[in-house]
């Protein structure tokens, strides 16, 4: 999987690159509008992470150029601006998704995977881990090919777990992803705790070959 990261903040590039490489992606970077344009027009990527503010031009201009050249790439906009106009303009110009900075890495990964999945024609849609499969399209979870009924939030949480099995998923990340803003409230963390508890029960009942483990007080991981 090859990803192009178009971003001008060196520190951010370093972090994103380190994270995505651990997730077995190949990362190329471009730090200016011109460098990005050249790479975007020359090569094909599974996903392009595009910052809006770039030296030499904006991400929106880059999308415009791509559209004019008739070249289709899967693009995830990463912007510190988080403005509705940019988001709408970006999506209209052919971007696939929009993620506001700052973001959680697990959120970034979920978005990238979803974009790559959608970009693949007739490819494998389901995510598999041990004896479990998860289909993001019809929101179906099967264990040993038996459907496990999960409520909406339990599904969302399980989706994040199965995207990064054996990796730590922090409680705050789960809370923010399933509850949105104001996620750092104590009672929301209790809510997450109860949802994870229910999820574990259901996985156990369905005889899953794995379990969700608490990692100190910080979060959970799928083992």
């Amino acid at each position: 999987m090859k990803i192009l990261l178009i971003e001008d903040e060196i520190e951010l590039i370093a972090s994103i690159k380190e994270f995505l490489e651990k997730e077995n992606f190949l990362i190329e970077t471009a730090m200016s509008f011109d460098a990005a344009l050249e790479k975007v027009l020359t090569y094909d990527y599974d996903c392009i992470l595009l910052d809006i503010m770039l030296p030499g031009g904006t991400g929106l201009e880059l999308l415009q150029r791509l559209k004019e050249e008739g070249k289709k790439q899967s693009i995830l906009i990463l912007s510190a601006k988080d403005s509705v106009e940019d988001k709408v303009a970006g999506l209209e110009l052919g971007a696939d998704d929009y993620l506001a900075k700052p973001f959680h890495f697990s959120e970034l990964l979920a978005r990238i995977k979803s974009i790559i999945r959608r970009g693949k024609q007739g490819g494998e849609q389901v995510i598999t881990y041990k004896n479990a499969t998860l289909n993001p399209e019809n929101r179906e979870v099967r264990i040993n090919n038996q459907i496990v009924t999960l409520n909406r939030k339990e599904f969302d949480i399980f989706y994040y777990f199965i995207l990064r099995p054996t990796k730590l998923l922090e409680k705050t990340t789960i809370a923010e992803t399933v509850w949105g803003d104001n996620a750092d409230q104590a009672d929301n963390l209790d809510f997450i705790y109860s949802q994870v508890k229910n999820l574990r029960k259901k996985l156990k009942e369905a005889k899953a070959d794995f379990d969700i483990q608490a990692v100190y007080g910080v979060g959970y991981k799928l083992i």
Binding site: S15, F19, A80, F103, L168, E176, W179, Q185, V218
Partner: protein
């Protein structure tokens, strides 16, 4: 107590005219009386000369012992060689016509006949009735005074009303002016120079203030904006550290706590950014919003957490609430209110949503008493039970509603229920 500028000068004018007229009346009276006595006295002196001449040629006149039709009498002088000196006096003498004593001017003098016999001569003539004169003068002056003052007041009132009309209009327009809306002050067209200057000064003052305010807003937006990148870098670096399996529990908890605080900062920053964007009119596009479906969507989205908190929610729909506003702002608005109703509820509490054509009411039970509606919409105001919120949720709600003057937001505390009502 303040009085209108129209009456302000009138007071002084009335007093000044009174003083001026009083002084004038005194002088006028003094000069008039002086002139009158001067004339009468001259007449009396003339008469004296004529009488003495007549006496010299006709000594029978010396027998005029009483005032008769001649209005003089001649009496032999007791003293001899009295000096020939004229003495004027004012006396009251009965006048049959009026039936009372009337003032007379009397000239007393003496003369010697040709044979040297001294006689005294008294000549009298009716003179002005000074008190009547004074009363008449006072009455006519009072009438004059009243007429003058009244006409000045009227002229003042009408002329000044007309002259100050642009000013009252400027005052009215200033009252209409709302901060943040440059166009809400309408300058008044006038040909009075002072008001023109006033207009221009007000306009430039407003422009200066608005500019300062705009700069402030842009500054806030940029500052919040610029914070995002370093926050993103820090948070992501901490996430990378957290994924290190060799960390001890203690280290991991500390890093997670640090990240949690940073996330709080991100949320605060996002709220500030949202507030400044609302204030900077960056949510201008307007669409028709169906409050019913929007609220039901939001409630559905939060269903699990409502269940988890053991809250019951009761949606009562009596009509369709539709409104023309920005769709993003509408969902932020209702979502903030519903989230608050969940957040500040109590165990086994209730949330009531009443929707009618003109009103949406969101009520919730709570352990705390009534909130102070003077403060709850203030930025960074925090209630007692609240240590996690950033205190911006309700200010965002009120900022959004400020953009739509046809919507009013009201906080009510009735029957132990906190109620937020949005009315068209």
């Amino acid at each position: 107590m303040s009085i209108s500028v129209k009456n302000y000068t009138s007071r002084y004018i009335a007093v000044v005219i009174l003083i001026v007229m009083a002084i004038w009346a005194l002088l006028f009276y003094a000069f008039m009386m002086d002139e009158v006595y001067d004339n009468i006295d001259d007449g009396l002196k003339n008469q004296k000369i004529e009488i003495i001449r007549a006496v010299y040629s006709d000594s029978t006149l010396l027998e005029t012992k009483d005032f008769g039709i001649n209005q003089f009498r001649i009496t032999p002088s007791v003293e001899k060689n009295v000096p020939v000196k004229d003495v004027f006096s004012r006396e009251f003498i009965f006048m049959p016509y009026d039936g009372e004593d009337e003032p007379y001017r009397v000239l007393r003098t003496s003369f010697n006949t040709a044979d040297g016999t001294p006689y005294s001569l008294e000549i009298r003539t009716s003179t002005v009735e000074e008190d009547d004169y004074l009363i008449n003068l006072a009455i006519s002056l009072t009438v004059l005074y009243i007429v003058i003052v009244l006409s000045i007041l009227m002229v003042n009132y009408y002329v000044l009303s007309k002259a100050w009309k642009p000013f009252t209009r400027i005052l009215h327009n200033l009252n209409e002016y709302r901060f943040g809306e440059v166009t809400s002050f309408i300058p008044v067209v006038t040909n009075v120079k002072e008001f023109e200057v006033l207009n221009a000064n007000i306009e430039s003052m407003i422009a200066r203030n608005e500019k300062a305010f705009d700069n402030q807003k842009v500054f806030l937006e940029n500052a919040s904006h610029e914070l995002q990148t370093p926050l993103a870098i820090t948070i992501n670096k901490l996430e990378l550290v957290l994924s290190d399996e060799s960390l001890s529990e203690e280290q991991m908890i500390k890093i997670a706590d640090a990240k949690k605080s940073l996330l709080r900062m991100v949320n605060l920053n996002k709220s500030l950014l949202l507030l400044s964007r609302i204030d900077n009119d960056q949510y201008n596009s307007v669409g028709q919003v169906n409050g019913n479906t929007l609220l039901l969507d939001i409630i559905n989205e939060l269903k699990e957490i409502i269940e988890f908190k053991g809250l019951s929610i009761d949606v009562n729909i009596q009509g369709e609430f539709t409104v023309n506003m920005n769709t993003n702002l509408a969902s932020i608005l209702f979502s903030n209110l519903i989230r608050n109703a969940i957040k500040y509820n109590m165990d086994e509490g209730k949330i009531m949503v009443d929707i009618s054509v003109n009103e949406i009411r969101i009520s919730n039970t709570s352990n705390s008493g009534a909130l102070n509606p003077d403060y709850i919409f203030e930025r960074f105001y925090k209630g007692k039970q609240d240590n996690q919120s950033n205190g911006l949720g309700l200010s965002i709600v009120s900022s959004i509603l400020n953009k739509y003057p046809f919507l009013t937001l009201q906080y009510l505390y009735v029957d132990d229920l906190h109620t937020f009502s949005i009315k068209k």
